[in-house]
Symmetry: C2
Subunit: 548 residues, 2 copies
């Protein structure tokens, strides 16, 4: 059901998510991509004279964004979202409830000291979620500066009651529900235990357009590691689903229930997977009465991403593993492929002056069947000046047939009793096994609950690099504390356990978005770093990873 | 010359400096001190209806303040400095020049989107100076959010031309000059080479009240490691001198030149030295025509600090080093002293409800003359609940006679050729010697100029702990880069040099404010950490520190 024409009863809402400001900010080629696209998004908001901007989380890529990123974000918001154009909707709900955790618990455009033309409403994502003793997140800096309305924050870990922001423009009334990112398994459990309730306005219950914004796994990553669409209340009209990076913005009706789901997708490519190659859009949502229309707006500043797969064993006519020159043949073949992809990218870019020049290119080569990978380093060199991601153009993998052992040569030591089958277990299974073992040990579970708590919480849901640094810092501080407190060896063993816990926990949280190969590298690095401390700490020899 | 009475021609300016927001923010007792006092300062500004607030640098203690600190600062500024009271002075100078490095190069109270009642003008200090590729500092976050006017920033390292902000209120005209913190030795050199010029308004040169705010060493720390007052231009009327923490706020006329200097001092105790024990004040500066009056405002929320010295050898009647029970006698004596100091502190606190309960107490014990220090740990335990700084109440030192060797057991390895005299050299001398040697090596000096540059700049002028973490991060990243790039051994040796350079450079920058014992600990920790990396990096055996 779509509104015929915009009028004084029509809400115009710019919908976007996963902008990941600061992603690769130090990259000489891609460093500014996220800032440029954020400006493009806000420019669309301004040009389309929207009533407000609705963001679905992960505005920031890092939990603790750099000064440059925060500065750039403030600059964009102040530039595009302040001004004289009057805001034409009102808020009917109790703002002290909607923004209860804010130091300024009211919507920014009603603050008499700020001249806001476009209010931005945002939930937090898993990248920029609240952490630390004071449970602040990066959005709270923007909110305290009066430039963003951070909402949808729940403080309990057992029970959630989502109180909507009630908006009215002319005769249209929107109940805006938000739920900032929560670890999927925890939220799943809460849904199953009927601990998630969505409050509804008492008067004219059916006259509201119910809009829900959420930032969780939508696709199934594990039995309880996602939020099934059916969990959501049937009275909702539209769900804006953040976190998933593939653009599926056109609202799609859930089959069991009547609501629609729009998945805007990210506005930047953060992983080289096929979903990210789908053309990036944001949405211009029109709501009039109970009718809505989602207008797609293609983003022009997003760097294009082209991905293709090659299965060497599918070309027995071209490649014979016994041929001594087969590697050169493969390399030549890949080069030809990349050249074609570059041609396509260039054609696509023609006529779009806002498109960054160098595309992101990924060729995935399945080399199962006795082939050897060639030197990626030299291959990359050739594309240094033509591709935005020269170092990871080529990705070798083996899908067909049985993988060799060394592919998953991750030794979790204490976690499993080193059966040979463990070599072929998936990392995720190792983690499960670990937790099963852990649950039996009362001492350890006490430790993990009390000792780690917050600390672990701060490591998870973050970029790998950040997590390493955080962990190193954390361990360093802890070590110094321990040295002071002269702990016993038994207590030091506990720390070893904690480190393992960190690693596994981190994996558990990241498995949704982090490829196993990246995770393996991360764990290796962490263990290397931690075990190299001069203090008696870190994993013992028995749990040390094999040399990379 | 002081103005008789305030009227529409009188500027009222709240003057403060070195607020060090976030200092000890994780301390369970003192964690909130800086935030509370910042609010008190802004409250004075509001109650006194000042025209503006002038800050002399180091608003933040950390170069990269925590999210909590930035959040708290934004909260205070938004709460106290926004509102409807009209600002009653105008700016005559070209704001695009005054704020040329800002994304919003105009004063905040003239921004039509912000309702500012108290504009804050601030230069940066050595703690919160601009760093990184984009040369941003913490103040720029506030400035981008429209809550502070960051001024006095020079971009050249060779030449400075300070262009004043020209303010007029009624018939009073102020030329406000600012110079953000610059390494003292560099600025000293620039002054000597006549590379510092202060621009003056062309019209009615003598009708302006010339106010200069600066953040540098005022007391002489080394031949060129401070800014002699005489360097400053004679046309100035009043210098507000930041950086020095002792409150000497009452303007004091320079003997050679006619200008006055007011040194507000910090609003928080950050070192346990006598200067910090002086009662903390901020100033209410009245300027009318060319006349001024500095009204002192005592800060009520500052935690009191009491310091006393004891020289054991001065009490031969009480203490005999040969007496087997002398240590107990000393301990009892010190306890008595501390009790007296606590009594004094309690008396001082009476009748001041805003004063924090637990005072900061320091008893410095000169134990030269054959005495032994007692266990500080057990002594501290007794005061855990009565003193804000139980762990460092007692400071043992040896001033009288020759110090024993182990006092300066800092082995700079390559820096000096380990002569026995080196043991008694001051750390500063070691550093000098290092630089003299370094200058002979062209290769090294090239390296330090090109290779280090910015990186080093980011480590200096920071809290010790922060510096360690930064350095570890930096080295880690660099190491990973190096591993990738497969450097030669010769190149790796250069890194060793760089590490040494970092250590010494850090010392050089910090020597003003950092006690030698702290510095020694820092360097030791850094070297321990770096040399423990699994990679071939860090100081070689020959330059390794002795075991602590």
């Amino acid at each position: 059901p779509s509104p015929a024409q915009d009028d004084e009863d029509t809400f115009k809402i710019l919908v976007a998510t996963d902008i990941h400001l600061g992603y690769l900010e130090k990259d000489p080629v891609r460093g500014n991509d996220t800032f440029v696209t954020f400006n493009e998004i806000l420019d669309h908001a301004q040009k389309n004279e929207v009533d407000f901007v609705l963001l679905g989380g992960d505005l920031f890529h890092e939990n603790k964004p750099s000064r440059k990123t925060v500065h750039s974000c403030l600059e964009s918001l102040r530039k595009y979202c302040m001004g004289d154009r009057p805001v034409q909707f009102e808020i009917l709900s109790d703002q002290a409830v909607n923004f209860h955790y804010s130091k300024f618990p009211w919507v920014n455009y009603q603050d008499e000291n700020l001249n806001i033309s476009i209010p931005v409403f945002s939930i937090h994502g898993n990248h920029d979620d609240p952490t630390g003793a004071d449970a602040l997140c990066a959005l709270d800096i923007l909110s305290c500066a009066g430039l963003v309305n951070h909402f949808g924050r729940s403080t309990s870990v057992e029970k959630i009651a989502i109180s909507p922001i009630l908006l009215r423009k002319g005769r249209t009334k929107i109940a805006l529900y938000g739920l900032g990112s929560i670890p999927d398994e925890r939220l799943y459990r809460m849904f199953v235990n009927k601990q998630v309730t969505m409050l509804r306005p008492k008067e004219d219950e059916d006259s509201w357009f119910n809009l829900f914004v959420i930032h969780q796994n939508r696709s199934k990553h594990g039995a309880t590691n996602y939020i099934p669409e059916q969990f959501l209340d049937d009275f909702i009209d539209l769900v804006v689903w953040g976190h998933e990076h593939e653009c599926k913005i056109t609202p799609f009706q859930n089959e069991q229930q009547r609501f629609y789901i729009s998945q805007p997708g990210s506005s930047v490519v953060t992983s080289l997977s096929p979903g990210e190659a789908v053309k990036k859009h944001i949405g211009l949502l029109h709501v009039k009465g109970k009718k809505m229309k989602m207008e797609k707006i293609a983003l022009e500043t997003v760097r294009t991403f082209h991905i293709e797969d090659v299965v060497l064993a599918d070309h027995p006519d071209l490649f014979n593993p016994d041929n001594p020159n087969v590697t050169q043949a493969i390399q030549a073949f890949c080069m030809e492929k990349v050249e074609l992809m570059l041609d396509n990218a260039e054609r696509e870019r023609l006529g779009n002056p806002h498109q960054p020049e160098k595309p992101i290119i990924r060729l995935r080569v399945d080399y199962a069947g006795g082939f050897e990978p060639f030197s990626i380093y030299r291959f990359s060199q050739k594309y240094m000046h033509r591709v935005a991601n020269p170092k990871d153009i080529i990705h070798f993998f083996r899908h067909r047939g049985q993988k060799e052992k060394k592919d998953i040569d991750l030794n979790f030591g204490k976690l499993v009793s080193r059966p040979t089958e463990a070599m072929t277990l998936r990392v995720e299974d190792l983690v499960k096994q670990y937790f099963q073992t852990a649950e039996k040990k009362v001492q350890l579970s006490l430790l993990t609950e009390r000792g780690m708590g917050e600390a672990v919480q701060e490591f998870v849901d973050k970029e790998e690099k950040d997590a390493i640094e955080e962990l190193v810092k954390f361990q360093l501080e802890k070590t110094q504390r321990f040295l002071k407190e002269r702990r016993t060896e038994a207590e030091e063993e506990k720390i070893d356990e904690e480190v393992i816990f960190c690693c596994t926990h981190m994996h558990r949280k990241r498995s949704n978005t982090c490829r196993n190969d990246i995770f393996t590298t991360v764990v290796r690095k962490m263990v290397d770093i931690i075990s190299s401390y001069p203090f008696h700490i870190g994993l013992g020899k028995s749990t040390r990873m094999g040399q990379a």
